[in-house]
C-alpha cells in the first residue's frame, strides 16, 4: 500500500524531567546514546515539513530543559508548522514565556497533578504545584492559548470537581481530564493508579455537568480509562497513518511508547536514514499499516477499519504479542487479564514506583 502522509510530529527533546509522576508514559529504560543536537533537530523539522507534517508537539521529558527550545520553535514556524509545547511548566519564567511567544509558539499544554498543593506535589514527587499556577499566569499574560492537562487516577479522581474549579480559575480555554493510560511507568503502577468503576462513572457525571455549564467558554474533555471500555481506542488513527515521534536520541517511532512496549521491534534513526525513507519504507512503520497484518478476531471484525485493532503497545504489554487484538476488546481472548487487574484493585498495593530517569541499556 502507498503510505499516507504524516500530519503531526511529536518531538521528544529530552527524557530528563524534574518531576517523578508515577503515570509517566516515558520508557523505563533506553539504550545509551547522545541526544540530538540543535542542528540535527533543524534537519528533522525541515524533513517532516517536506513530508507534509503540519503540527509539531515539543515534548519530553521536560522540553524546557533544552536551551535551544525557542530556536527550534522558530525553525518549526518558519517551516510552516503549528507549534505546541507540552510541558510541566518547570523551567518557565516571565521572560522565557515571552521569548517562546516571540519565537512563534502557537499553543501550550500545561500539566497539573491535582487541584491542591500537597496532593499535587506528592504525585509529582517534588514541590512544583505553586510554580505551575504561576506558569499558567505567565502564559495567559503572553496571550498564548493555554490548555490544561490533568492526568486522572485513583489518587486524584475523587477531587474532579475541585480540579475543574482550579482549571476555570487559570484562564484556560480547554481542560483535559485524561484518565491514565498504562504505558512506561504507568504500566508498572497500574494497580495503584487505576480508579474503580464506581469512581470513573461518578467522575464522568461531574465532567459532563461541567461541560454543559461551561459550554462556549471552556472546552472540557474527559478521557475514560480504556480498561473500562469494551471496545479498544482507535490508537493513532492507525499505525503509521498520521503520526510520528522522534525521541531524544533520534529514533523514529510510530508511537511514543512503541520502543519500550515492543522491544523486539527495530527502529530507524534520523542519524542514519532520511525521515522520508523511514516513513515510507521502514519495517517498523509498515508493520501494522492497513489491516493485512491482523490475525483473528480483528481480521474478520466489522470494526477493524474503525478501531484498527486498538493499541499495538497495549497488546504487546498485556498479551506479549504486538499483533494481537488490543486486550481491552471484548472479543480478545486476553480480556480476562484486564478484568484481573480491575478485580485486584482492592489489594494492598498502594505505594507506586516514582518515575526516575530511564535506566541506560548498553
Amino acid at each position: 500500500m502507498i503510505p499516507p502522509r504524516p500530519y503531526a510530529l511529536l518531538a521528544e527533546l529530552t527524557y530528563k524531567c524534574p518531576l517523578h509522576c508515577p503515570y509517566c508514559s516515558n520508557p523505563t529504560q533506553i539504550r545509551v546514546d547522545v541526544d540530538l543536537t540543535t542542528g540535527e533537530w533543524h534537519r528533522v523539522i525541515r524533513e517532516v515539513a517536506a513530508l507534509g507534517v503540519l503540527q509539531i508537539g515539543f515534548s519530553g521529558g521536560e522540553p524546557l530543559l533544552r536551551r535551544d527550545l525557542a530556536e527550534l520553535i522558530a525553525a518549526a514556524r518558519s517551516a510552516g508548522l503549528y507549534t505546541n509545547l507540552i510541558t510541566s511548566g518547570v523551567g518557565l519564567n516571565r521572560n522565557r514565556t515571552r521569548e517562546l511567544h516571540a519565537a512563534g509558539l502557537d499553543s501550550v499544554q500545561l500539566s497539573f497533578q491535582a487541584d491542591e498543593v500537597d496532593l499535587a506535589d506528592a504525585i509529582a514527587g517534588t514541590r512544583v504545584h505553586d510554580l505551575k499556577t504561576e506558569a499558567a499566569r505567565w502564559i495567559h499574560e503572553a496571550e498564548i492559548p493555554l490548555s490544561l492537562n490533568f492526568v486522572i487516577h485513583r489518587a486524584n479522581i475523587d477531587r474532579l470537581a475541585q480540579i475543574i474549579a482550579l482549571g476555570e480559575s487559570l484562564g484556560s480555554s480547554r481542560i483535559e481530564l485524561a484518565n491514565t493510560q498504562f504505558y512506561g511507568w504507568g504500566f508498572l503502577n497500574r494497580v495503584q493508579l487505576l480508579p474503580t468503576r464506581h469512581q470513573v462513572e461518578h467522575a464522568r457525571e461531574i465532567a459532563m455537568a461541567a461541560q454543559a455549564r461551561l459550554a462556549g467558554k471552556i472546552e472540557i474533555y474527559y478521557v475514560l480509562p480504556d480498561y473500562y471500555e469494551l471496545s479498544p481506542k482507535p490508537c493513532l488513527n492507525g499505525w503509521g497513518s498520521r503520526y510520528l515521534t522522534v525521541n531524544p536520541i533520534g529514533d523514529v517511532l510510530p508511537c511514543p511508547t512503541a520502543a519500550s512496549a515492543i522491544p523486539e521491534m527495530r527502529f530507524e534513526n534520523v542519524r542514519r536514514r532520511s525521515l522520508e525513507w523511514i516513513w515510507r519504507e521502514s519495517e517498523s512503520f509498515n508493520a501494522f499499516r492497513g489491516t493485512e497484518w491482523m490475525p483473528e478476531p480483528c481480521r474478520s471484525c466489522p470494526q477493524r477499519d474503525i478501531d484498527f485493532g486498538g493499541c499495538r503497545c497495549q497488546a504487546a504489554l498485556v498479551t506479549g504479542k504486538a499483533h494481537n487484538a488490543d486486550p481491552v476488546c471484548k472479543f480478545s481472548s486476553h480480556r480476562p487479564k484486564i478484568d484481573h487487574v480491575i478485580a485486584s484493585l482492592n489489594s494492598e498495593r498502594t505505594e507506586w514506583i516514582p518515575r526516575s530517569g530511564p535506566a541506560m541499556l548498553a
Partner: protein, 104 residues
C-alpha cells in the same frame, strides 16, 4: 505525555447577526497546505481542511461583517445572494461551534 482523548459533543445554538464581524479565534491559524494547495485551519492538536466555500468565507474573515462577506461572494461568483447568505451563515455557525471563529 498522555494520549487517547475522546470528547463528549455539546450543542450550542446561536444566532448570527448580519452586522457581526467574524474572525479566527486566538490560537487558530489559516495556512496553505504545501502538498495540496488547500487552505487549512491549524489549531491546538487538530487540523481542519476547508472545503472550497469555507475557504472563500474564512479568507474574508478580516474584520468585515457577515453580510458584507455574503455580498462580496455573491458579486465575485455571480450567484444568488439569498443562497450565499445561507451558506455563509451555515459555515460560520459550524466554525463557531468548533470554536474556530468568534464574533466581534
Amino acid at each position: 505525555m498522555c494520549f487517547g482523548r475522546s470528547s463528549i459533543p455539546f450543542i450550542m445554538i446561536t444566532q448570527i447577526a448580519d452586522d457581526a464581524r467574524p474572525r479566527l479565534s486566538r490560537g487558530v491559524r489559516m495556512q496553505i497546505d504545501r502538498r495540496t494547495g488547500a487552505r487549512l485551519l491549524l489549531f491546538p492538536e487538530a487540523i481542519l481542511e476547508l472545503n472550497e466555500t469555507a475557504q472563500e468565507i474564512v479568507a474574508r474573515c478580516d474584520g468585515r461583517a457577515v453580510d458584507e462577506i455574503a455580498i462580496d461572494l455573491a458579486e465575485h461568483y455571480d450567484v444568488d445572494l439569498v443562497t450565499i447568505r445561507r451558506d455563509v451563515r451555515e459555515t460560520l455557525r459550524d466554525l463557531q461551534q468548533r470554536r474556530l471563529i468568534e464574533f466581534e
